[in-house]
């Protein structure tokens, strides 16, 4: 062995090693036990904390986590550290020696030296092996005398075990008393973020408490908090607090729930319900009740109206639609709905007044004959029983609800609506919709621009406007007429109609200017009942008629008579004006006679003059009005060729004088009276003006008298002319009877009938056609007889007034021949019961001849009068010629105007026929 280069170590003595090993083992046992106990204590204590606190209040998950971490930290952090420190930190002998040195410093130091000696690696020359060995033995012997366990650090095992025992016992007791609570606490402690609910002894059935809860804004509400079936405790009272308001309490009702009544709230907040150890928070959202923002109805009208559906805003709660319409209702609300209910409730309808009552009987027909099946006057309409109310199906789409379409019957209806929104809030009030079922009214036709009752000369056209209105649409408007014969009629009664304007389903108003010329429609002189009509689209209704215009188409003779009568009326009015003027004159003369010039200036006199002036002004207006009427009459007379030229001239003279009176003479009198009362005039001037007024007034009155005289003369001429016309007309009537009899006797009226004769056939065997003919002729003869009687009477009166020779002669003849009796006899043998046709024909012919002769006689005398009446020799004066020219021109103008009106009428007729044709073609297509 080389002592200089050899490294050799000396192990410590075996006894010392054993002693140190024992010490180490004890140390490790104690400290590991401490670590385990500390870990357990931490865990159990953290659990106990959670268990205990959660009995008071729910702990948030984060807090539970912190506690859990804190608890596990002793086991997770402290124990490993403790083991590391005491086990791994005292693994070597030197570490043990140092630990022993803390308790036994000297021994410990020596032990440290020994351990260090063991590990030193020096050569033999430096360290002696025997010396090291001796030192170690020495220390070992010292160590062997000591109990190393006394050098162990203090043990906490007992305290820890005690603590562990206490908390363990607490946990055990808790579990024993409240196993559910314990189990719940354990689950919540071991997994703080689990969904395990906090266990309380008192449990509310929170699923039955809406959360959040929507309540009506500002309205009281209540919350009911029922206890859960699993609850272990049932506290007698519970409290609830809205936000930070004063809590309210509630007792347990029927052992199952608490009800809390809150006043109206306007701000969102939470309600905290406390019952026993449980607490529940409900979010309250005050919200306004759901409201209607829009309500519309889509009304599909009945098919026959051919109109598009209508969209109507019904927010007002009222809807009117025609019977038979299909209605669909849509409500829009301020938020989505969950539920809506409505009911269709039929309501009795009040019988409406008919705006178009049937016309009064005029021609034997009235509008009610042609209208739809409405009850006649006096009949009570049958009432159908009302159907039962029925629910109206509604479909919800978000914030809109739409009803299923329903058809509007003849009765009215009421439809209430109630709804609930998605938050469970009900509507504040029921929305009531009143539905009124309307009847499709008859159209209302009328005429404008024409008098209701007028008389025109044969050949004249009339112009007026026809209009009609309907609540929906008009198909067409037109004219309809029916005639009745009068004494001047020769043809048959007219009847017909023509459309003038076609409408459309949307034409609620139609108007047409009409030029109606009866001649173009083949209407001879008679009385026509002219009505406009309108047809709407209602099936089976037919035309509805206007008030009739009674249009009497006069023959020339009748027209002459009418002109004459009107002329007489105007003369009477002139006489009235003259009388008033005379009264005015008397008053003015009194003023002039009894008042001095100075007295005329007094207020009383001025007042009298003013009154006189006012009366003069009134009379002037009457004269103006009369002049205008005379002009109109003159124009009308100019149409009639049968009115003699001389009569026309006299009418023109009358007109001229009236014009001068109205525009010149009377205004001058009025002016003078005004001057007479002027305050600027001197008394002498006033007197002078008054005198001048009186003079002018006298002149005016004289002119009036002359005019009346001339007018009366003209009237006589008229009357005379009408006698001629009327006699001629009567003669024509007899001629017509003759020709009708002739036709009947020759069989032309009825090809199959035998000719009628009183000689051959008994009245009872007459063919019905002939019977009817004879009956008509009998009636005609009766009219002629009456007319001739009138002529005779008036002729007598005329003669006694005028003493005209020819008129006297004719009157005498009429009396001598007893013409009226003979005409009556003729009537008797014309009757179907007698039927002496040959004799009737003969007599009628004779009478016609007689009447014509008398007419000629009078006509001849009239011509003489006319010729001598101021015409003069050599073709008359220039003035007469001018007048004649103007009269011809006027007649020409009138005639041309009539032709134009008739052309228009023809053109309208042509267009109307085209309309009719087009309508018929459309129907066929």
């Amino acid at each position: 062995m080389n002592r200089n280069s050899k490294d050799n170590t000396t192990p410590i003595p075996e006894e010392l090693q054993k002693q140190l090993a024992g010490f180490q083992k004890s140390l490790w046992r104690i400290k590991i036990t401490e670590a385990i106990l500390a870990g357990l204590f931490g865990l159990i204590t953290s659990f106990l904390i959670v268990f205990a606190i959660e009995r008071i209040d729910e702990m948030p998950p984060t807090v539970r986590l912190v506690i859990l971490l804190a608890g596990t930290s002793l086991a997770v952090l402290f124990a490993p550290y403790w083991v590391r420190r005491w086990v791994y930190g005292h693994k070597r002998e030197v570490q043990l020696a140092r630990l022993i040195a803390k308790k036994f410093p000297k021994l410990g130091d020596r032990l440290v030296g020994v351990v260090e000696l063991q590990d030193q690696k020096q050569s033999e020359e430096v360290f002696s092996d025997e010396l090291r060995q001796a030192a170690m033995v020495h220390v070992a012997n010292q160590a062997a005398k000591r109990d190393m366990t006394e050098a162990l650090p203090g043990s906490r095992n007992r305290k820890l075990a005690l603590g562990l025992g206490v908390v363990g016992a607490a946990i055990t007791a808790g579990f024993a008393l409240a196993p559910k609570a314990g189990s719940n606490a354990f689950q919540r402690w071991i997994n703080p973020f689990s969904n395990v609910n906090h266990y309380t002894f008192t449990q509310l059935d929170t699923e039955k408490i809406p959360n959040p809860m929507v309540v009506p804004l500002g309205e009281p509400f209540s919350i009911t908090a029922p206890l859960s079936e699993q609850t272990d405790r049932r506290p007698e009272t519970a409290s609830a607090q809205y936000g930070d308001q004063t809590p309210i309490t509630s007792g347990l009702a029927e052992n199952t729930s608490y009800t809390f009544d809150f006043k109206g709230q306007e701000v969102q907040s939470d309600v905290t319900i406390k019952a026993g150890d449980t607490k529940h928070r409900v979010t309250i959202k005050p919200l306004t009740r759901p409201e209607v923002t829009g309500f519309d109805a889509v009304v599909t009208l009945p098919d026959y109206l051919q109109l598009p559906p209508r969209n109507i805003d019904i927010r007002t709660g009222a809807l009117s639609a025609v019977e038979g319409s299909k209605i669909e209702l849509t409500g829009t609300f301020d938020r989505d709905l969950s539920k809506i209910s409505s009911t269709l409730i039929p309501v009795e309808k009040e019988t409406p007044l008919d705006p178009n009552p049937p016309l009064a009987e005029t021609t034997g027909e009235s509008t009610s004959d042609k209208t739809d099946g409405e009850p006649k006057e006096g009949e009570e309409p049958e009432k159908e029983p009302l159907p039962q109310p029925s629910p109206l199906r509604m479909a919800i789409n978000g914030n809109q609800a739409t009803s299923s379409p329903f058809t509007l019957a003849s009765h009215n209806a009421k439809i209430p609506f109630d709804w609930t929104d998605v938050n469970g809030l009900d509507s504040e009030a029921t929305f009531n919709l009143s539905v009124t079922s309307l009847t499709d009214l008859k159209p209302n036709p009328y005429t404008r621009g024409v008098d209701r009752n007028l008389m025109i000369l044969d050949g004249k056209a009339i112009e007026f406007e026809i209009s009609a209105e309907d609540d929906f649409g008009l198909q067409e408007i037109g004219l309809e007429w029916r005639g009745e014969l009068h004494s001047g009629s020769t043809g048959k009664p007219a009847a017909g109609s023509v459309p003038f304007e076609l409408g459309s389903p949307s034409s609620s108003r139609l108007t047409k200017e009409i030029s109606f010329s009866h001649k173009e429609y083949g209407i001879s002189p008679q009385t026509i009942y002219l009505r406009s009509y309108a047809i709407d689209y209602k099936p089976e209704r037919g035309p509805v008629y206007s008030e009739p215009i009674i249009l009497t188409i006069l023959t020339k003779e009748q027209h002459s008579e009418m002109i004459k009568n009107d002329f007489d009326r105007l003369i009477s009015k002139l006489e009235d004006i003259t009388r008033r003027e005379l009264e005015n004159l008397d008053a003015n003369e009194r003023l002039d006679q009894f008042k001095t010039p100075e007295a005329l200036q007094t207020p009383e006199s001025r007042k009298e003059l003013a009154e006189s002036e006012a009366r003069e002004a009134e009379n002037k207006e009457r004269a103006k009005d009369l002049k205008e009427k005379m002009e109109e009459l003159f124009q009308e007379a100019a149409r009639n060729e049968d009115i003699p030229k001389e009569s026309m001239k006299k009418m023109a003279d009358t007109m001229k004088n009236l014009q001068e009176l109205a525009e010149q003479d009377l205004p001058e009198v009025e002016q003078k009276l005004s001057d007479a009362q002027s305050s600027k005039s001197t008394p002498e001037k006033s007197k002078k003006d008054l005198k001048e007024a009186i003079e002018k007034q006298k002149d005016a009155i004289e002119k009036m008298r002359e005019t009346i005289e001339k007018a009366n003369k003209a009237s006589e001429d008229f009357e005379a002319a009408t006698f001629v016309n009327r006699l001629k007309e009567a003669a024509r009537g007899e001629d017509r009877i003759v020709s009708t009899l002739r036709e009947a006797m020759l069989g032309s009226l009825s090809p199959k009938a035998d000719y009628i004769t009183g000689a051959k056939e008994a009245a009872g065997n007459l063919d019905p056609t002939h019977k009817r003919t004879l009956s008509d002729l009998e009636n005609q003869q009766k009219e002629i007889t009456t007319e001739v009687r009138w002529i005779k009477e008036e002729l007598g009166s005329f003669f006694s007034r005028t003493q005209k020779e020819e008129h006297g002669k004719v009157f005498e003849h009429m009396n001598e021949t007893r013409i009226d009796e003979k005409l009556e006899e003729l009537r008797q043998i014309l009757s179907p019961d007698v039927a002496k046709s040959f004799q009737s024909q003969k007599f009628a012919s004779e009478h016609a001849e007689t009447l014509n002769e008398w007419a000629k006689l009078l006509e001849g005398s009239q011509d003489e009068d006319g010729g001598g009446g101021g015409g003069g020799g050599g073709g008359g004066s220039q003035e007469d010629e001018d007048f004649e020219f103007m009269l011809k021109v006027m007649k020409m103008v009138r005639a041309e105007q009539d032709i134009r009106s008739r052309t228009r009428s023809l053109e309208q007729l042509r267009r109307a026929l085209e309309l009719k044709k087009g309508k018929a073609e459309n129907k066929n297509n």
Binding site: D451, L454, M455, I456, G483, E484, L485, H486, S487, G488, K492, P493, A494, A495, G496, S497, V498, G522, I523, T527, T552, L554, Q558, M562, D566, E631, E632, L633, F634, Q635, E636, A652, M655, K656, R772, E787, W790, E879, D882, F883, F885, M886, L887, V889, M890, M892, V893, E896, Q897, I899, R900, R902, T903, R904, L906, E907, L909, R910, A912, L913
Partner: protein
């Protein structure tokens, strides 16, 4: 006088109606027949043309009586217009053209009357 009639003529286009019945009309009901509105338009127009032609004859008579050249000229124009209107009506033309011609006739007659009165 002349001026009075002229004034009435020039201002007049009124249709006079009487207000009260003057005739002793007898409202007897007689068998009614219906006027056929389908009767030919041409036929009626032709009838109207005859009346228009009559008026033309009246104008010619008036022309013969006149000495004022201007009046004669105007009346001759009237006669020509009436002939046109007659032709139109004969052909069944009752439209706006014919009506316009008739209006022109009326205005021309007024003109002639005015000329005569001056």
């Amino acid at each position: 006088m002349k001026k009075t009639i002229t004034a009435i003529l020039l201002a007049s286009s009124l249709i006079v109606t009487a207000k009260e019945p003057a005739t002793k009309s007898d409202k007897k009901a007689v068998e009614k027949t219906t006027v056929d509105p389908e009767a030919t338009h041409l036929e009626k127009s032709d009838q109207l043309s005859i009346e228009q032609d009559k008026q033309a004859s009246n104008v010619i008579e008036l022309i013969i009586e006149q000495t004022n050249p201007k009046v004669v000229e105007l009346l001759m124009e009237v006669e020509v217009l009436m002939a046109n209107a007659t032709d139109n009506l004969e052909e069944g033309n009752t439209g706006i053209e014919t009506i316009t011609t008739e209006t022109e006739i009326i205005e021309k007659i007024f003109e002639a009357a005015k000329e005569k009165s001056q």
